[in-house]
């Protein structure tokens, strides 16, 4: 498994994190060069290692508009890790809503970007699974069966799309890790995670398999009723870093939302990384220079409102129950 076992530290015991915002105007840009330089900046040790890239492939989007991590970003990341000396770079995803993963990756033309798929792409929904005790007890799950490809990877790279989410507020590197939970055990969608509480399950999963690195595809994101039915939103950025909480917080700030109001980020900051701006060193473009206001659905307006007060249970699983009625 990845190095996540050593990554559960309270914020005060954690060194400041670094997050890089790289600008890229479109998917036709030389993304490999951008990502290669960004990865070198973080001095990742990847020589001889097996890297698992975990993109966010949600559904069929043959135009590659905004639903899925763009295959050009996945291809560029794969190429960059191989250039840095990785022994093997596999792409693994377990879509939550669509069982036919082959249809998804064919519709998005992933083959054109990463080459032959068998052996390189792993459908995490149907991979061999092993029982794993969860490292935290935020939810009542206690254990999950997780895919071998994830457990055997030396480095797990979460590669989300910059999107709003109608249940969780936003979906970024931490929420993206729901995709490692195998559908063959838990179904499509992985409803057990919703029943356990999105926030709580998300903490447990990321505590157990904390992403070692994050690459957020924010070249074109999604606003409104994400993660599927929202509207494409051009942002022109790739956000990278080795602290998933800090990367997600930075993304939320550049979406012009307030990270302290995303309950799962607040919880995650207690063990998994930094949320506060003063603990995050920005590299590359500044947040202000790329800030783009994302629309959110009504029940998440409090993510922007300056006068919002946190709900009684701080839980985002059903935000309509405590969102302000204004």
């Amino acid at each position: 498994m990845s190095a996540s076992a050593n990554s559960l530290l309270p914020s005060f015991a954690r060194a400041p994190s670094r997050v890089a915002i790289q600008q890229a105007a479109s998917y036709q840009a030389d993304l490999s060069a951008v990502l290669f330089e960004a990865l070198r900046e973080f001095k990742l040790t990847v020589q001889g290692k097996v890297i698992l890239l975990k993109p966010n492939f949600v559904g069929l989007d043959s135009d590659n508009l905004a639903m899925n991590t763009h295959p050009a970003v996945v291809g560029a990341a794969r190429e960059s890790f191989l250039r840095l000396g990785a022994r093997r770079v596999i792409v693994g995803e377990g879509p939550a809503l669509e069982r036919d993963s082959e249809a998804i990756v064919e519709a998005m033309r992933l083959r054109e970007y990463i080459g032959r798929l068998p052996g390189t792409f792993v459908d995490l929904n149907v991979d061999e699974v092993h029982r794993v005790s969860l490292k935290t007890r935020a939810s009542r799950l206690k254990e999950l069966h997780l895919p071998q490809a994830v457990l055997q990877a030396d480095l797990v790279v979460s590669m989300p799309k910059l999107k709003t989410h109608h249940w969780a507020g936003v979906t970024l590197s931490l929420k993206n890790m729901f995709g490692i939970v195998p559908g063959c055990c838990y179904g499509w969608p992985k409803n057990i995670l919703h029943w356990a509480g999105i926030t709580q399950a998300l903490i447990d999963i990321n505590s157990t398999v904390r992403p070692d690195f994050v690459i957020v595809d924010g070249i074109v994101g999604m606003e409104g009723n994400g993660p599927i039915q929202g509207t494409p939103k051009a942002c022109g950025v790739l956000v990278v870093g080795d602290d998933p909480v800090a990367v997600d917080a930075t993304c939320v700030r550049l979406m012009d939302l307030v990270p302290d109001r995303i309950s799962y980020l607040v919880y995650a900051a207690s063990l998994l990384g930094h949320l506060k701006e003063e603990k995050i060193q920005q590299i590359g473009a500044s947040i202000d220079s790329v800030r783009t206001s994302f629309e959110v659905i009504d029940s998440f307006r409090y993510l922007r409102s300056p006068n919002w007060r946190k709900g009684w249970n701080g839980n985002c699983t059903d935000p309509t129950t405590y969102a302000p009625k204004n």
């Binding site: 669509e98 036919d100 792409f121």
Partner: protein, 329 residues
């Protein structure tokens, strides 16, 4: 195993298209059977219930050859041994709780006329397995928050969940209904008839507005969800006793339109099976399957290969009893 697949690929390239079933599907399923008798999801993976059921459902009606008969027998033995004491089946080995695959396991055994008592215990478990939305706290929550729920659906129609105690969804409900609709009366508990009625009502309630089904959320925050091929196929197969209902016809129309844009072999085979079941015309399957196979070898997926084998079987009645009488194993 990989070598066997390469051989199969080479053969396929030289073989006429009608040989796809004989030269690719059958050898693949026979060669990917694990030594314990079952199948994993993909080439080389450990045995689990769903792929074993998929393979058995396809093989049992594919050929009477000794090799296939022997393979099916070993598969059935594994399946029977995997049943939990409460009558259910787990999704993967090591899980102590049964789940959605119980319907598939019962269906697999029942369509072959096997293991009546095991099927009866499985059916009893299914009838007792209520989804989470039926529980007291859910009803209270529903009563208190009622109209504020983002998902509008009739929670009095309950089907089956993927895992115990979670919500009803299209596919597990469909699998259970496909089983219940073909059970003889003496295996149908009184509660099964009620569950069947509620499950069918749930499926119709969850249909997408233009026809077809997705995983089970046809409307979220007032926005209509898009139907998907897989759930639509399973729901239509579960509701095939009502072919003339407008919802069925509307969903078949959607599936026919979607058919030509399908990009995955599993979805294509399932859609083909469903449309043929309803007597709708379908274009020849083999040419598209050939191109899919050459692209990705179906990701070496056992369920996909099994669905393809079933779809290419000219004599099959998929998911219908293939043997008369019942044999106790």
């Amino acid at each position: 195993m990989l070598g066997a697949l390469k051989i199969a690929t080479r053969r396929f390239k030289d073989a006429p298209s009608q040989a796809f079933r004989r030269e690719i599907c059958l050898p693949f399923l026979l060669e990917t059977q694990n030594s314990d008798g079952g199948w994993g999801n993909q080439l080389g993976l450990g045995t689990t219930v769903e792929p074993t059921c998929s393979a058995l459902l396809a093989l049992a009606s594919a050929s009477n050859s000794g090799e296939v008969t022997n393979s099916v027998g070993r598969g059935n033995d594994w399946l029977l041994a995997a049943q939990l004491p409460d009558g259910s089946w787990p999704a993967c080995l090591g899980q102590q709780a049964g789940c959605w695959v119980t319907s598939l396991a019962c269906l697999t055994l029942h369509t072959q006329g096997l293991a009546r008592s095991a099927v009866a215990r499985g059916v009893r478990w299914l009838c007792d397995a209520w989804p989470g939305e039926g529980k007291l706290w859910w009803r209270i929550r529903n009563r208190v928050f009622g109209e504020t729920f983002a998902v509008k659906q009739n929670h009095s129609f309950r089907g089956w969940s993927w895992t115990p105690g979670t919500s009803s969804w299209t596919e597990p409900t469909s699998y259970a209904l496909i089983l219940l609709r073909i059970l003889p009366e003496d295996l149908l508990l009184r509660s099964a008839v009620r569950r069947q009625r509620l499950g069918e009502a749930m499926l119709y309630d969850r249909m997408c507005s233009g026809g077809g089904w997705n995983c089970g959320n046809p409307m979220v925050y007032g926005v209509a969800g898009q139907p998907q091929v897989g759930p639509t196929v399973w729901a239509l197969l579960a509701l095939q006793d009502y072919p003339d209902r407008p919802e069925n016809q509307q969903s078949l129309d959607w599936l026919e339109c979607a058919y030509q844009h399908i990009r995955g072999p599993g979805s294509l085979a399932l859609a083909h099976l469903c449309l043929e079941t309803y007597g709708r015309p379908t274009p020849p399957l083999e040419p598209t399957l050939q191109s899919f196979f050459l692209n990705n070898q179906f990701f070496h997926s056992v369920p996909t290969m099994a669905w393809v084998l079933a779809a290419l079987n000219p004599t099959r009645k998929y998911l219908e009893p293939v043997r008369r009488g019942v044999t106790e194993r």
